[in-house]
Each structure stands twice: as C-alpha cells, then as structure tokens.
Subunit: 530 residues, 2 copies
C-alpha cells in the first residue's frame, strides 16, 4: 500500500468515525430530546386547541349578547327539563306515572322549540300523531290476537309495513310537509312501538295510557314554560322581519340614488355604515325560506300582543314576494350604478334633481307603508304619496320623452361662461350645428332612470299587498288628517296626469328654458334641470 | 163590542189560528223531514269529505308518479322498520338485546331520511351524541353517588340544568346548527335519560350498553337499507339541480332576447312551453336554501358515482350564488322587456342583430359550462366562447359608443324607397337637418342593451366559479381539440380587443356605411345593422 493509498484509507476511516460519532451524538441527543419534543408537540396542540375553543366560546358569547333571548331560551329548556325530571326524583310523582316518566323527559327535549308557534305545532302534532297511532295500533293488535298464532304476526307485520310506507310517503306532500311533518313521524314511531310491544307486553292498554299521560305531562310543561317565560312569538318575529326589511329597501334605494346623482355622503356617517345601508336590500333577496317557515308556525299561535288568533300571516309571505321582486330590480339598479360605463356628468346633472326626487318619493311611500304596518293603523297619506311618486315618475318620463325639445342630449355650443360648463363632458361629436353626447355616455344614466321608473310599479305592488293586509287584519282607521289632494291634477287609475299635460307644447318648454327658477309652476317641473 | 170591533177580533183570531196551523204543519212536516234531512246532511258531508280525500289522494299519487323515488323511499322505510321489528318477534334476537329493542325501532324511525347524506349525518350525530352524553352522565352519576344522599340529587339536577342549557344554546351557533343540530338534541336527550334513570336503575352500565347497542343496530340497518336500495345521494341531486338551473338560465336569456328583438316564436312550440322556458330563471332565484342544505348533507356522503369523498360541494353553493346574481339581472332585463314603454322599431332593428348575437353567445358560454359540469371534463372551448361573448359585448358597446357617426339615432331624411323604411318609427323630432328619435323611444332598448352588457360580467363570474370547481374537483382534461384562436385579436386579461380597434377612425365608419354587406370585414361588424 503506497503512502498515498494509506492516506486515502485513513481519510475514509476518519470520515467513517466522524460519521458514526455524529450519528451517535445525534441519536443520544435525539433520545434526550424526544420526551421534551413530544411534550412540546402535545403542549402546542393543546394550546392551539384551547385557543380555538376560546375563540369559539367568545364568538358564541358575543352572539348571545347580541340577542339575549338565545341565552334565555337555553335557560328555559334547562328549567323545563329539571322540572320534568322531578317526576323521577320525587316518590309520589314517580308512583303516579311509573317508569314511563322517561317519555315525559323525551317529549320536553323533542318538543321544546325556540318560538311559541313551533312548540305548539310540535305539541299538537305529537298529541294527534300519538293518539291516532295508538288507537290504530290497538285495533290492529286486537285483530292480530283474534287471528291466532300463525296469522297474528303476519297481520301485524304487514300493517306495520303498509302504514309506515304510506305515512313516510305522505311526508312528501307539500301541505303535510309544511304542517304535519312531525306528526307523521310520531305516528310511525308510536304505531311501531305499540304494535311491536303489543306482542310481548300483556297490559297493552296500560302502556298506551301511560304513554299518552306522560306525553301530555311533557307537552303541558313545555307550553307553560315556553309561553309564560319571555315567550318568543313566530308571528311577532315575522312582523318585525318584514317591517325591518321594508325599511332596508327604502334606505338602499334612496341611498344609492343619492350617492349616484349627488356623489355626496351624509356628514357624520362612516363609509362602512353607508355601505351597510346600501346592501341592506340583499337580506330581502334571501329571506323567502325564513318568511315561509315563520308564517307556517305563526298560524298555530294564539292571540298575542296586537295580533289576533287568525291574523292573516299568509299575507306576509305575499308582501315578502313583492318585496323580493322589488329588491331584484334594485339589485340591477345598483349593479348598473357600480358598472364601469360612466355617464357624462352633464346629462347626469340634467336628470339628477328629478331622479333624486323620484328616489326619495319612492322611499317615502315604502316608509309610509312601513309605518302603517308598524302601527297597524291604516295610513291617510299613502295614497297621496303614491300619487306624488307617480307624478315624479311621469315627470322623469316626460323629461326623457321630450329630450330634444329640452335639449337633453345637446351641449350648448357657446363658449363656456358659467362654472358648470367647465366640467368634463366626455367626447362629444359635432353633428352639423349641434354638439351631441354619444349614446354610450347616456346609457348608464338612462338605464338607471329606466330602472327607477320600473321600481315604481313594484313599489305599487308592495303598497297593494300591504293594503290587502290592512283590510284582512282589520287595521285601525287612520287618524283624521285633512287630505291634501292637489286640485290641479286628474287622477285616473291611481296615476296622476297633470292637467297641464293636456296642453303640452313646445312654447311651454321654451318658456321654461328661459325661466327655470319658477319652481312653483308644475308645468315647468319637467324642465327644471335643463 | 161593535160590529167593526168583532170583525177585527175575528180577523186576529183567524190570523192567529192560521199562524198556529202553519206552525203546526211546519212542525209536523219538519218532524217528518228531520231524520231524512239529517241523513242528507251527513250524506252530503260524507260525500264532500270523500271527494276531497279522493282529490287529495289523486294529487299525491300524481306526485309519486312524477318522481317514483318518493314511493321507493316510503317502501324502504317500511322494509327497514319491518326488519328492525323482527328483533321483537324472534326469540333469539329478542334475548340478545332485551326489552330495549324499542330503541332500535325508534332509531330507524328518526334517522331514516330521504337522502343518503342526511341519513349518514343523523347517524353520526346520533352515535356521537349518545356516546358523549352517556359517558358524561355516567361520570356525573358516579360523582353524585359519592356525594351522598343529600347532595347527590342536587349535583345531578344542577349538572342536568347547566348541560341542557348550554347544549340548547349551542344549537344557535351557525356551524353547529348546520352540522350538529340533531347531535345536540340527542346529547340532551341521552344525558337526561341516563342521569335521571341512574337514580332508580341499579344496573346503569347495562342500560347504557343496551342503549348503545340498540342504537348501533338501528343505525346500521338504516345505512344498509338506505344506501343499497336505490340510494338517493344529496351530492348527485345538488349537481343535477345546479346544472339544470344553468340550462334554465341559458334558455331564459336567449329566449327573451330572441323574442324581444325578433318577435318570432319557434315553430312547433306552444305559447305555454315558451312562457315556461322564459320564467325558468325564477327557480334559480329561490334555490338558495335548498342548495345550502344539500351541500351540507353531501359532505357526509362517501364516494359515489363520479364524486369522490371530498368533492368540493361548497363550491356548488358559490356557483349558485353567482347564478343568482345573474338571474337577478335577467329578472330586471325581462321586466324591462315586459314594461309599457315601447321602443321605436327602427332603433330596435338597428340593435337587433348584434344584441341577439350577444344573447346567443352568452347562452353558448353558459351551455358550455353546463356541459363541462355534466361531463366533469374541462372544456377546451369555453375560453374561446368567453372571448367571443366579450367580443360581441364590445361590438354592442362600440355601436352605442359611435351612435352619432353611424347615425344610430337618426332617421334618413330622404323619402323612403326600400320596404324597411315603411315601418312605424314613432314620433320623430326634426332638429335642423336631421330627423332624430326621442330618448323615450330608445330608453327601453338601451336599457335592454345595457343590461345585456351587464350580464356578460356575471356570466364570467359563473365561468370563474365553475372553473374553480373543475380545478378543485380535478375534472378530466379536455379531449384534444385544435384551438381556433383568432389571430387578429389581442387578448388582454381574458377580454378581447380587436386589433382594428386601434385604428378606429371615422373614415372606416363612413366606408362601412356605404358598403355594409361586407360581413367578412371585422371592422365593419359594428356597423352591420345600420
């Protein structure tokens, strides 16, 4: 082995020793580290988990603080369950209903719901389903016991199969699904229990009677606790939901129109508040399921507050539907406002005042309707406000209709003298002796105006449905207020046609163009912003 | 008494006698009639009732025939219940689980749901809730039994109250409400039953073990029957619902645009069919709750058909949301089409071809996306179609933008020579040497065009969400198809800008106005309909 080879071998050995040493060091150190690493891992996981739990609890707590009735509902269930479990703890009560007091506990757990309507609905469903199924099962049992050992189980089995299938199928039928879904389930349950138990239990009548009595105890307790301690009425909730949604619609409409045409923000209102107000209408678009459920529950509730037993809850669903068609139009309007195509400031300014007026008139109508619902008192003003709204819509229509005679699309050719004319007006095309705004520059504002006019008929739909409600629910008559019917308007079919419209001719418009400060003259209203 | 008085008295007496006679006759005849009247009444009521029942049954039967899976579900429940009741009828099975086999029956009734996802969700909730509550209750029972006679019931009662309250409150927390609502209820139920029973039942462990084993028997049976006999998967239903809704959107859009601009109806299609097709989009507006529920259920389902276990069901909710914003825009569009303001036929004709093109391109994109989802295979064409749609939108925008240079609002002044010019064009206003259409006459068509352009960005949203789905769900790669990318377009940010747009100037438009048959020239496309 040459010197060179020796050095190579030595190097390899050294390297090996180093590697082995390193490995040993690593192993021994990792053996030392292992327990502490595991502890650290477990500790980390625990801290992470407890942090998550903390966050979750904090969130839940905040939710409870936002609506303390949720806390109260939890406590109510606790009270009802503690009360019903007394039947087990107290000897005299226990002797009364026997070991079947378990059914009472189960009834409370299953039947106790958030709103009074839901609880009553479940109670009635449970009692009816249990009784009906109990009678049927006893009948089948009697029949089976007469049929002898061989045919008895067969009769019981076949009847069980057929009734369970039919009852399950019936749960798909819309009217049963909406009102008696739970009853069907209880029917199947009780029928199975009684008919199956009947095969082994001798004292079937005792069993049935105990089940019925425990169910009655449980349901009574539920109703008492639910309806005496801070009751939550589905009807009242529905009423609140609908009126609040109406308010949101009015705010969204007026806010978006104001923002678009004036580009101004209310003082002292933050951007976030403003945005929240504007997108309030979105709640309306997704409230269909809630409204229908609540209306279905409210019909079970007795008279409460200002609502009678047979308050027309179904009408609220109709109001909700008309609100949704309105909100969907508003959605398109707001989308159009937020779209990229920007309108020329000039034409926007020309349409501004009348559009803002129409927006605020529409909002006024909705707010008046909201007040009508809130106070449950017919409004003396709403017809007047609808007329004013239609008037404003007609003015906007007229302005667009007579776009040429009032030079809507034309920019004055004279060199700009006032400050207003300094504004950007986008590219204009000179056609002969007129400067005209291209269609692309008016498309946004015309769409907004057109959708605004479209909303008017939808507001009228809302007014109609609320009017129907006030008739059905017999709202109080309005307080006597002198009607301020304008004398110079012809009202046909709830729409207003200014008498001056009859003698529309260009002279008027030209006059108006000269004297556009004369706000008192209705005739000139259509031209005020030219 | 004078003669006169006598006659009066006689008259009164006669009258009285007559009245009494009449009354007697009436009484005797009514006494004779009474039974037959009662019979008739009862008979009438019975016939009426049975007619109503018949009608109800017929309706239900029709509903079942429309979707036979509802019948099948009923039969499945019948089979499962018959199977579980065998535990009662057969001695060896009965001896295994004892009298508590009632719990198995109850489990089947409560847990068996229409879709596999709902059943699995309830099964998992039931098992978890029962086990957790069982352990806790046994722990509390052990603690209470150690605390002695005096403090025992107090500990049991307080823990019952606190846990029931907390669990009830937790059902309001959105994430728990969506996934573990039933589990919470079962938790409360089991805890109450075990902790209350623990006070009297000596063999608590046996009770708990029997309850758990019967619950497991019931749940296993449910899962087996539900998932082997014609299973209905919530996921598949959701997939179908969303793809069908997409189809409806495409049909509604194209149908309404075609109808508005062409006023033509497809041959061989009845009015009713056409109307149904047009209002198909309304389903989309109200499908939010269904989609969310189904997506929540689908996440519990194992792999089935073409869907993996962790298929991104949440993405379907997002697709649904983007479809709803689209549908709400479509709603405004269709409302605008149905509004009273009618557009001038002339301008309608001018915009017709390009608007119909845009409508059909948008519909094509939606249909392609639907095909992508249906086949679960990425599309090679969709990018191209989106580009074409944007192209069409840009053309419409250009047409509106250059309204003056291409005389969009102007009616030729020369005496009409071709047939087209004979049409009604509504009132026109002469301004200097041009005949112009008033704004009111263009408002509807401009709004329709503007909303059509607005829908484009919403269609893009749908494409984006579906694209995200295809990425998340790892759709198959598209079959190799040669991309037909047009070479003369610049694509920036998924939008197309025709190269010719760079050198837009009026000369081109004037050329085009002269030679408007040259369809091959992209440059002239914007002017084809002038």
């Amino acid at each position: 082995m040459s010197q060179q080879e020796k050095e190579v071998v030595k190097g390899v050995v050294e390297w090996r020793i180093n590697v082995v040493d390193d490995h040993d060091n690593y192993s021994s150190s990792s053996l030392l580290l292992l327990p502490s690493m595991v502890v650290a891992c477990v500790w980390g996981a625990m801290v992470g988990f407890s942090m998550k739990v903390c966050k979750f609890v904090k969130k839940a707590w905040k939710m409870g603080l936002d609506d303390p009735r949720k806390f109260i509902h939890g406590l109510k269930v606790g009270v009802a369950l503690s009360a019903v479990s007394l039947f087990y703890y107290m000897k005299p009560l226990y002797n009364g209903v026997g070991g079947n007091s378990m059914w009472a506990v189960m009834t409370v757990v299953v039947v106790f719901e958030h709103t009074a309507g839901a609880t009553i609905c479940k109670v009635i469903n449970r009692i009816c389903g249990t009784s009906l199924a109990g009678f049927l099962a006893i009948g089948v049992h009697w029949l089976a016991s007469r049929a002898g050992e061989q045919w008895g189980p067969l009769i019981a089995g076949v009847s069980l199969f057929l009734l369970a299938s039919a009852a399950t199928f019936s749960r798909f039928i819309p009217i049963i699904k909406a009102r008696f879904d739970y009853g069907c389930m209880v029917f199947i349950l009780t029928f199975c229990l009684v008919s199956v138990s009947g095969y082994r239990v001798d004292k079937l009548m005792d069993l049935a009677q105990q089940r019925v009595s425990t169910v009655i105890i449980g349901t009574c307790l539920c109703i008492i606790v639910n309806m005496t301690v801070c009751p939550i009425w589905a009807g009242q909730e529905l009423h609140l939901l609908v009126t609040n949604n109406l308010d949101k619609l009015a705010n969204s409409l007026q806010g978006s129109v104001d923002q678009y045409f004036n580009n101004n923000q209310q003082e002292g209102v933050s951007d976030e508040d403003c945005r929240k107000k504007l997108i309030g209408y979105k709640c309306v678009l997704s409230s269909k399921a809630t409204e229908e459920t609540m209306a279905n529950l409210a019909r079970w509730e007795p008279a409460h507050g200002r609502f009678n037993f047979r308050h027309p809850w179904k009408q609220y669903v109709k109001i909700g539907a008309s609100m949704r068609t309105y909100a969907s139009c508003l959605d398109a309007l707001i989308a159009c406002i937020n779209s990229h195509d920007q309108a020329s400031d000039l034409i926007k300014k020309k349409l501004s005042s009348i559009s803002v007026k129409l927006g605020s008139k529409s909002a006024d109508v909705i707010r008046e309707v909201t007040t009508t619902m809130r106070n449950m008192r017919k409004s003396s003003k709403v017809d007047m406000l609808v007329i004013e709204m239609n008037n404003a819509a007609q003015e906007l229509r007229d302005l667009l209709n007579n776009s040429h005679s009032n030079n809507l699309l034309v920019i004055p050719q004279k060199p700009p003298t006032t400050e207003d004319d300094h504004q950007e007006v986008g590219p204009v095309v000179e056609s002969n002796n007129m400067m005209m705004i291209p269609v692309m520059e008016i498309i946004q504002v015309v769409t907004v105006a057109s959708l605004l006019i479209e909303t008017v008929s939808r507001v009228e739909d809302i007014v109609k449905t609320v009017d129907e409600l006030s008739r059905l629910a017999k709202f109080k008559e309005p307080k006597c207020v002198k009607a301020k019917q304008p004398s110079n308007n012809i009202i046909v079919d709830n729409k207003i046609y200014p008498t001056q419209q009859q003698n529309h001719h260009d002279d008027h418009h030209q006059e108006a163009a000269i004297d556009d400060n004369d706000n008192n003259n209705n005739n000139n209203k259509t031209l005020q912003m030219v």
